[in-house]
């Protein structure tokens, strides 16, 4: 059990709250950076995919987990980022141009959705974002000159300082760096007035207004930041895939992202990473497991969504706070070992809340 003695308020503003945090996160980052020394190409590729998922999930978490706006269309931002990146690289620009353009165009897409979407919530918002992603997918299918239409489009490798990134471990490190920067940006927002306003809008739009928060502005901001991060993830997804077709960016991808952050733990940055690892491991596991099973079972169409669905339902039924919630419980069990009480995480009775303001 750790007792923290705080001597000034500044300590609460630090990202790492104590030496233990610094040590473990430092170690984690060290391990992540040295992974290419240990793992072979195949697993580095798998790890890259997990990092890209994490980046996309981070984007979705900003708008859904922290601001409470469910988006069923985040695949659209991945698509915008992916195609923009690929197009600029194809024109001979370096990644220094292509990546920011991917983020910027995706951001503009986010703004386009957000301005009408900020007036909606719940199911209407979900449908509006879904519609947006269908439009984007459709566009990608028809803009032959830019996206190659349904025939698809080859993606050039990333280019930095005139150096082309061919190796999978190089791409892995590139994604890792950008992911760390994006995560730090999100953590900064969360410890600032904007992040608190996002959480306020999520938990009670009415009282956030009474405190001077403009929910529209906050939602538009959240959508824009979210789209930028997801767009960057899309750009890297393009490199990972090396070949883009519009079908990649269908509704299933959006649902998978949503599933990921719910499984990981909605409303936490940790949840993004837990979710990404889980989905990554599950995908790899399912594809390995499928080969191991007799074809009559493993070859069944729809077996993957089935397994995903079962896992999602069980998590929501048994651990609504996601993997991260479960981890917090295990950690406090260890910290308080002999005196841990199960009741400490029992959900308390919630007080009456009505839609009306009286």
């Amino acid at each position: 059990m750790r007792i923290l003695f705080k001597t000034n308020y500044k300590q609460d503003l630090n990202l790492a709250k104590h030496g233990g945090h610094r040590f473990w996160y430092g170690l984690l980052i060290l391990i992540l950076f040295s992974a290419p020394l240990i793992l072979d190409g195949y697993y580095i590729g798998e790890a890259t995919r997990v990092l890209i998922y994490a980046m996309a999930g981070l984007g979705l978490m900003v708008v859904t987990g922290f601001t409470g706006q469910v988006s069923l269309g985040h695949a659209a931002f991945l698509a915008i980022g992916a195609y923009t990146n690929a197009w600029f690289l194809a024109q001979g620009f370096s990644s220094f141009v292509a990546l920011p353009m991917a983020a910027l165009l995706s951001m503009i897409g986010g703004l386009l959705v957000a301005i009408p979407a900020a007036r909606m919530s719940g199911i209407y918002l979900a449908i509006a974002t879904l519609a947006f992603s269908i439009i984007v997918e459709d566009f990608a299918g028809h803009l032959n000159s830019i996206t190659g239409g349904n025939r698809g489009m080859m993606v050039d490798v990333p280019m930095l300082f005139g150096y082309q990134i061919w190796e999978s471990w190089e791409l892995y490190l590139f994604v890792l760096c950008i992911l760390i920067i994006a995560t730090l940006a999100v953590l900064n927002i969360l410890r600032s007035p904007l992040g608190r306003a996002m959480i306020a809008v999520r938990d009670s739009e009415v009282s956030s207004q009474a405190l001077g928060v403009n929910p529209m502005k906050i939602k538009v901001f959240a959508f824009t930041v979210s789209a930028a991060i997801t767009g960057l993830a899309g750009a890297f997804l393009a490199h990972y895939m090396m070949f883009l077709t519009p079908q990649i960016f269908g509704i299933l991808l959006s649902i998978q992202l949503l599933l990921m952050i719910v499984l990981g733990g909605l409303g936490t940055v940790h949840g993004v990473f837990f979710g990404a690892v889980l989905i990554g491991v599950m995908e790899t596991g399912i594809s390995i497991g499928k080969d191991a099973l007799p074809f009559s079972i493993g070859g069944l169409p729809g077996i993957e969504p089935l397994i995903f669905g079962v896992i999602l339902i069980s998590v929501i039924a048994f651990e609504p706070t996601g993997i991260y919630g479960r981890w917090v419980k295990i950690r406090s069990y260890m910290e308080f070992f002999p005196v841990y009480r199960r009741k400490s995480f029992k959900r308390q009775r919630s007080y009456l809340k009505t839609e009306r303001l009286r």
């Binding site: 959480i199 306020a200 009474a210 405190l211 001077g212």
Partner: protein, 254 residues
Amino acid sequence: MSFLEIENLSISFGGVKAVDDVSFAVEEGSVYAIIGPNGAGKSTIFNLLSRFYEPLSGQLNFAGNDLLELGAKDIARLGIARTFQNLELFEHASVLQNLLVGRHVHNTQSWWRQLLFTGSVVEAELEHRRKVEEVIDFLELAHYRNQIISGLPYGVRKKIELARALCIEPKLLLLDEPSSGLNPEETEEMGFWIEDIRRDLNMTVVLIEHDMSLVAEVSDRVLAIVNGKVAAEGDHAFVQSHPDVVSAYLGDAQ
């Protein structure tokens, strides 16, 4: 002109006049109580002041500002803070985060500075924290500082909502039934705090309240609302013994 002036305010919901031609004025530095039976339209007056509802007719004036020209999000910036009858806290955030949202109107940092968490943001955050800690000390909430709202008892939540409103450093504080759900000791404590808020923090207070001893203890003037209309206005002894008010409460009890 008074500090807060409400003139001929009316609103109806589906043909039912919830507030019907209500006028009253609140002087700066006073404590003003609104009483009335359930469903009289008291909370609706607050929701009109917060600009959550559009009135059918009437004028709302606060310190020389026409509230009807503003939206719900602009009211706090004028220096009007409020609590809600059914509590509207940010359930999945800590007490500290809830109170810091109360500092939102005092934020001057641009979004990109917040994204980079620059030195000026750090300075501003420390200043907000100091202000919030003053309120935490004032309402004796130190014990709960880092706890998540959703696990806290009702009486504490009530105090946190009051604390969050105080963090705005408002000039006018609207309290919707501050004592409901509190036990007698907590209610007495609430009475002391309301007096302190007026005396030490120089805030004007308007409160909706059912507990008549609390009303008698803290308020300078009392307004009784019955069926959306003003039944009586004056000091609490006058209002409480007014025949229309008495019959409304007796009628309510039958």
